[in-house]
Symmetry: none
């Protein structure tokens, strides 16, 4: 069973809106075990839409469209699709009643122009619209199916879940199950090389991705049911974990911050932040996770030397002799945040986000990080290699990711909380490579 998606709307071709429907439908169909092999975007143009529908029906079993079901003159998806499928449009009284009720709920009269939304292809299975006026539908043509869905994501999603999914289950030949293995501290190519033989597998497939300085592997299996898919994945996932154990921070976690917060909670640890270059981004990312208040109470953004000295107790001499961007400043910032916050550990970042070089001629992308628990301190030097004019956002993201990764590593190495007791206060060992020379 293969499906093809046709997104109708000139606003998509002009780039006025982001096509979030594409990702939504692709992901949902994939989870239903229906393979999407083509997606296309067409303007509000009946000739090109007709051509796209005919092409899609020639090569796919199932064609889904979004958009063009509205009341205006350029909304022609239904008319065009009905003509391609050789169906007449007939008034669907039930939909008309639903539309009238929709408008009267809002206390306004239904404009005459909306009536045409109740004209649907003869014999079609009608999908009610719980969040708007335009109904959708499914119609059969030569043993294939065309599904028409509205364009606004709120309407499309509700209709898809409530009406289209139950209908589509009959076409689903099995399920697709996917797991993401997330790594930090290794490039995509280097990661892929360590599992290169696995990238040729057919079921499950193993595919590498890179984003914002992180690399991940997606392992995806297709099978009759979920258990069978998981059974196909298990040995491959085991092998990947084995080969990449030094860089994996989680499977099916959404981010470093999620992994870090979860581990801090598990170990009953609290963390504070002292941020210069990232200026709040670490704190922001930690608190993106609901419930972060259990593990994070205090962050200090010390964007000037004055504040580094005043609030964090960084020595004037360090700043004068080594500048604010050095390992010593990072260490003192971390100790300062620990003192101010009373947290179990504190992490700090000072660096050059860019654009441009610093007064010593050092390139953007350089940062020093420190993490301390009051007993030991670990520092890390980061050089992203990104120095171009628009590097700022990337560098700040990677600096913050490194800080979150340090927190993750500390919490992972921290002894388990003894049952019923206070957490141990034992210095942990991070990997020695964390020490800079």
């Amino acid at each position: 069973m293969t499906a093809e998606l046709i997104f109708v709307g000139t606003e998509l071709l002009l780039g006025d809106i982001l096509n979030t429907n594409a990702q939504y439908l692709s992901r949902r169909l994939s989870a239903l075990g229906i393979s999407v092999l083509h997606q296309c975007v067409i303007g509000d143009n009946p000739e090109r839409l007709e051509e796209a529908l005919k092409t899609a029906l020639s090569r796919s079993d199932l064609v889904l469209t979004t958009g063009g079901l509205g009341p205006t003159k350029d909304d022609l998806t239904k008319e065009t699709a009905a003509a391609v499928c050789k169906k007449r449009l007939v008034r669907h009284e039930e939909s008309l009643d639903a539309m009238r009720a929709y408008f009267s709920d809002k206390g306004v009269a239904m404009p005459k122009s909306n009536e045409k939304q109740a004209d649907l292809p003869e014999g079609a299975l009608v999908f009610p619209n719980s969040n708007g006026t335009a109904p959708g539908c499914a119609m059969e043509t030569d043993g294939k199916w065309v599904l028409l869905l509205p364009g606004p994501p709120r309407e499309m999603k509700a209709m898809f879940e409530l009406a289209a999914v139950p209908f589509l289950r009959r076409f689903s030949d099995g399920v697709i199950v996917s797991h993401s293995v997330r790594t930090f501290g290794i490039g995509e190519s280097a990661m892929a090389e360590r599992v290169s033989d696995l990238l040729d597998l057919k079921n499950p497939t193993v595919a590498p991705y890179a984003k914002n300085g992180e690399a991940l592997l997606r392992v995806t299996a297709k099978a009759e049911n979920e258990a069978a898919a998981e059974a196909l994945i298990a040995p491959v996932l085991h092998e990947i974990k084995d080969r990449l154990c030094d860089v994996i921070y989680g499977v099916d976690v959404s981010s470093l911050e999620e992994a870090a917060v979860a581990l801090l909670k598990e170990k009953a640890l609290t963390v504070a932040t002292a941020e210069s270059a990232t200026a709040g981004l670490i704190a922001k990312r930690l608190t993106d996770i609901p419930g972060a208040s259990d593990v994070f109470h205090c962050g200090i953004v010390s964007y000037s030397n004055e504040i580094k000295m005043r609030l964090l107790g960084v020595a004037r001499e360090t700043l004068q002799t080594q500048t604010a961007v050095c390992a010593d400043t990072a260490e003192q910032m971390a100790f300062g945040a620990l003192r101010q916050s009373g947290a179990d550990l504190a992490v700090s970042v000072t660096g050059l986000a860019g654009p441009g070089k610093d007064e010593l001629g050092r390139d953007a992308g350089l940062a020093f990080l420190a993490l301390t628990d009051g007993v030991s301190v670990w520092t890390r030097k980061v050089q992203t290699g990104h120095t171009e004019d628009d590097c700022r956002d990337y560098n700040r993201t990677v600096f913050a990711s490194n800080a979150l990764h340090l927190i993750y590593q500390y919490a992972a190495a921290f002894p388990e909380k003894p049952a019923g007791g206070e957490p141990l206060k034992t210095p942990v060992s991070l990997c020695p490579k964390e020490r800079i020379e």
Copy 2:
């Protein structure tokens, strides 16, 4: 001149990633006066890609692809496109050198697998990749052009702007000029109503958009050259500014933070932040703007009551009797940040980002903000109305936007810096509606 876009990547068909490249390229090509009539998405499958390329070349003058230029085995866009255009791939030494330099800058050896990225279609115009390894290119075939761009948005955008745009200008019939009018504190419908007659204009067009709690108007004209387009826009823009003067914070500025930082610089003011619900997001957004260090030195993230008392001097009694989410807490937080930082003004946020209600049964989406200059204090109550399970990100963004808007309003109302003198220290008047009851 018509163009067609082909996005290559199984991850797009699976819905693993959102196709932001589609919007970016559509918008940019449109601005260059090049009409995009088709977009399509194809997996990492050479047969289907070949078919898509042939179809595109049969109906469009220009075909742009993104993705599939990576070093791995499933990256086959270049090989497939070269075969369709009947070109051999030849080693491009300059690109190989650039790649080696890219890796050596990062202090790592180039994996052998990357070498194939330097093989490019014979006779192609090479587009260097300033943000990654894979070069792109443009190749001619039967009077039409195929442009290959990388998939990662950072790499694609930089290459498109630096190399593809100068190349594409030759195909551009006229120019499209666009200006964005940004507002804050008004909904999209209310904004659109105030300019409803202008929305019917044909050239320039006026279109409303809404995003993250902000509404904006895009005014776009098409003409033979830039000056002619600007002349069409000028009177309409003037009319819009007149009608929306109370809510506009900028024309062609990219964000509230950009507008706020620019005004703070102009008025030689510094600001500090005290954040609870937003937890670093205001500081992060201020420092997204290069040069923010002139106006921002200190931020305190006080995510717990303990830290609100200890670092910001919020009274225990206030927290106990009114909770952390109230106007008094916000005021005391702002005064605390002002004291700790020595800045000219301080802004604070305390609120309920969600998900879920607070202990008093108050819905997520509620926040109190305060801004003080040490002489006066202004407070603002925000209720976003977003209480659903995934409201957290939206609420934090809107809370932070309100804080940035308060800063913007203060700085806008602040007396100009007298020439050659110290800035005046006169209390400013914000609009009285800023006071909550």
